[in-house]
């Protein structure tokens, strides 16, 4: 059981991680584009790798039981797929000195979204009776209001990017908007009352991911994106929030000793 002290310590560690990675990238920016590229690429690998480790641990703990058991398996699929994507991006950029967008990394980023969507669905499924039509409609409306400017930006752009890159860039906000609906529902559902902060991190992580993707698309289309751009800080923060969210679940639901059968009434 987490004591208040442990919880505060966890929150402090989270903020420390966010500040260190954010400041690290900002400081590297002053040392030149090559330096910030290297720092950012090399930050993505351990951050995404940590998420894979935590996801495997929590999946092993839930062993497919209940809706959250299935949810964690799907989340592990997401973590693995995005870890491969980050590694591919880094190899393309740091080893082969090629532009990593578009590249095979995109295939792995895009594969991650269906996993993320199904994760949120299974995560919220036990509480489906509490999800009103009004809440679903509100979430859909918010999502559409985010999607329309993104799509407009893609269609009305004067970028030097190839048609393929522009279409690929447009797929991200569409996938984001699909994921955003259950994420908003989850945030509203778990924020009723003053919810356990770390539990909502998974959903807030999705929100950061969506904002970062929109920023990435915007800055790519006006040719101002480079690896290490401040928008990358948001991507890294979303990984960190995911990791802390999963870690919190691991701590709360760590293996307990055998339970006496007398708890079963029938």
């Amino acid at each position: 059981m987490q004591s208040n002290f442990e919880r505060v310590e966890e929150q402090k560690s989270l903020f420390a991680c966010l500040i260190i990675t954010g400041l690290g990238i900002l400081v590297a920016t002053f040392l030149g584009k090559e330096m910030v590229k290297m720092v950012t690429d090399l930050t993505y690998i351990p951050v995404a790798g940590m998420l894979v480790v935590f996801s495997i641990i929590i999946s092993a703990r839930f062993r497919k039981t209940g809706n959250h058991g299935k949810a964690w398996l799907l989340f592990t699929g997401l973590a693995i797929s995005w870890f491969i994507a980050e590694t591919t991006w880094t190899i393309y950029e740091l080893v082969y000195h090629l532009n990593p967008f578009p590249s095979p990394a995109d295939a792995f980023y895009l594969i991650g979204y269906p996993f993320l969507f199904l994760f949120t669905i299974h995560y919220l499924k036990p509480f489906k009776k509490l999800i009103s039509k009004k809440l679903i409609i509100s979430a859909v409306l918010i999502t559409i209001s985010v999607l329309i400017p993104s799509l407009y930006m893609t269609i009305e752009n004067n970028s030097n990017e190839s048609k393929f890159a522009i279409i690929l860039g447009a797929i991200y906000p569409i996938e984001d908007s699909i994921v955003l609906v259950p994420a908003i529902i989850g945030i509203v559902l778990f924020f009723r009352g003053e919810v356990n902060f770390l539990w909502t991190l998974l959903l807030i992580g999705i929100l950061f991911e969506v904002i970062a993707d929109t920023g990435f698309q915007y800055f790519t289309l006006n040719n101002s994106y480079y690896t290490g751009h401040p928008v990358d800080i948001l991507f890294i923060w979303s990984y960190i929030m995911f990791s802390f969210g999963v870690y919190s679940h691991i701590k709360i639901f760590k293996k307990e000793t055998k339970i006496k059968e007398s708890n079963k009434f029938v």
């Binding site: 209940g66 509480f127 003053e194 709360i252």
Partner: protein
């Protein structure tokens, strides 16, 4: 007769709580059971007579998001809420 009815309600409440917790996942159920046993030396069916134990344990584990779990239990017992003892159970775990 009253005793039998009460036993039936106790079973219904216990099953509803079990269902909600298992729907989330085995470790969630295990955590609640373990905490009930550790803090109050009681089992899940005993929470029918002591709903305040379940309330405290859910709050301890889930923080303020216990509200979502309680609402799910309430929905599960929806048709039985007209019965006074079940209404008392629900209102106590909701506090």
């Amino acid at each position: 007769m009253n005793f039998e009815k009460d036993q039936l309600r106790k079973a219904l409440v216990s099953l509803a709580v079990e269902k909600v917790l298992f729907d989330i996942g085995d470790p969630v159920y295990e955590k609640v059971i373990k905490q009930l046993s550790k803090d109050y030396d009681c089992y899940l069916p005993d929470c029918y007579e002591h709903p305040e134990y379940l309330n405290k344990v859910l709050k301890k584990i889930f923080g303020n998001s216990y509200v979502t779990i309680v609402q799910a239990i309430k929905k599960e017992l929806d048709e039985q809420i007209i019965e006074k003892p079940i209404e008392i159970f629900i209102s106590t775990i909701s506090e």
